[in-house]
Amino acid sequence: MADILVVVEHQEGAFRKTTLSTLTAAKTLSGLIGGEVDALVLGQGVQAVADTVAAHGVRAVLLGESELFARYLAVAYAPAVAQVAREKGYGAVLAPASTFGKDFMPRLSGLLDAPLASDVSGFSKEGDSLRVQRPMYAGNAIATVELVGSPLLFTVRQTAFDPAPQSDAKAPVERVSLAADPGGTVFVGREETKSERPELTEARVVVSAGRGIKSPENFKLVEELADLFQAAIGATRATVDAGWAPNDWQVGQTGKIVAPELYFALGISGAIQHLAGMKDSKVIVAINKDEEAPIFQVADYGLVADLFKAVPALIAELRKLKSA
């Protein structure tokens, strides 16, 4: 079987852990259809990213450095990945199902006329044929699909695969020269959501708030609880739409998909779209004063209470526990 290529995600040189679960997905795939796993890093001044990936159990890292990749643009990335896939004859190409992978992978699909399965949550085999699992309908259905053509393209749901561990061996890094044309597109600017907290998709604990939090000022309460766990903060669509929380915090079907060990849902009613983004969390705690709220159906520990009373009490109890 032809080999497998993973396109590495980084934010202008800062390696993103989304790639680690994609590497595990690639390994799973290689176990089913054969082939070795290589990684491709595109960027400028990103040797360190290549070195990091090289220490995570790949056969080789291909490094394409150019000014044209200094800022990520789908229009430059997709043809470069297409060139690598064609020249080296990869049988499958994978990338994280983050806003990075979701942006350029379909473009790659169009360029290569190759089938793409989005947001893959599993691989299996039926006889000799590969079967691919992916969520549809806000995670209320798991589809099994078959891909026809080559190379096979996948974006990988981060929460569905464990991060690849570090390896003892270090893979060689090979420089590749790639053509790229930004085709009528320029990078204008980036407004980073500033935070000292862990990434939503990587945090062990997530504290999220919904409309029940009532005002942006009250997010202080959310932060106070989050501080006790070094947790990431999430939000529902309603709170982001209202401008109380940045877009980057939205948990749900079309926002971030999270699966932390502990998820606090504060004043969240539990719309289908929100549940889609968090119902794979290990332990879910819901605090809401409406006992009919659908969030309680997925919660392991539901507390029907006014969050403005319950959360401060919870914070006090947890502090007591910590100092004990």
Binding site: V75, F104, G110, Y137, L321
Partner: protein, 248 residues
């Protein structure tokens, strides 16, 4: 402006999977315009109000899609094209059919939802841009045109924050939630919509290979959570987290 819309089952209702796993039960479920596509329609109308032009709706699929097209026309779009087919299509097939329409219509830009909330693929806009060799700006939350109308700056909702890119037109733009809040169709709008032009084009007349390359084999329900337990107060919650879930 070409605005692509997709009819989807009402996203606020939980879909049921057919017993044989071949699809979902659509009886008694209301079909609506995919929420992201509705945002695209609204944006096209706002752009038309500011800059003039024509908002043309495009749908690909079975005849029943006429209903959602009428809704978009009632919101204020000018005319519509339905590329009619009853075949199961994948994103590549849809994008290829769309590309034919774009070649005929030559719009200044194509705008559509970033993702349909039924299959959750998030693919068609980007594939279309690739097929037509056009720039793409996905997940748009703000669109601004240059004075001469030859370029647009699109702010995109990305992991980590917001990013702005500039694209030369024509381009393909996909919409995210914060772009706008779609209007409701007014009664006069609904009356007017009945008289607006809707061209039906049989998909097979476009000479495009639409055999699916991603084939849906079956659907299964996800693992259900054993949730639903309640605690009486904060003390019990902390006790359970510590001694039962062992997470503190």
């Amino acid at each position: 402006m070409l605005v692509a819309i997709k009819p989807v089952p009402n996203p606020d209702e939980r879909v049921k999977i057919r017993k044989d796993g071949t699809g979902v039960v659509l009886d008694n479920i209301k079909m609506v315009i995919n929420p992201f596509c509705e945002i695209a329609v609204e944006e096209a109308l706002r752009i038309r109000e500011k800059r003039g032009g024509e908002a043309v709706i495009l749908t690909i699929g079975p005849k029943e899609g006429e209903q959602q097209i009428r809704t978009a026309l009632a919101m204020g779009a000018d005319r519509a094209i339905l590329v009619e087919t009853t075949e199961e299509l994948d994103s590549l097939g849809v994008a290829r059919l769309m590309a034919k329409v774009v070649e005929q219509e030559k719009p200044d830009f194509v705008i559509m939802g970033k993702q349909a909330v039924d299959d959750d693929n998030n693919q068609v806009g980007q594939i279309l841009a690739a097929i037509l060799s056009l720039p793409q700006a996905t997940f748009g939350s703000k669109i601004e045109f240059s004075e001469d109308g030859k370029r647009a700056n699109v702010t995109r909702e990305v992991d980590g924050g917001l990013e702005t890119i500039g694209v030369t037109l024509p381009a393909v733009i996909t919409t995210d939630l914060r772009l706008n809040e779609p209007r409701y169709a007014s009664l006069p709008g609904i009356m007017k919509a009945k008289k607006k032009e809707m061209k039906v084009v049989p998909a097979d007349s476009l000479g495009v290979d639409t055999a699916p390359r991603v084939r849906l084999l079956s659907l299964a329900p996800p693992k259900e959570r054993a949730g639903g337990k309640k605690v009486a107060d904060v003390a019990e919650l902390v006790d359970k987290l510590k001694n039962e879930a062992k997470i503190l």
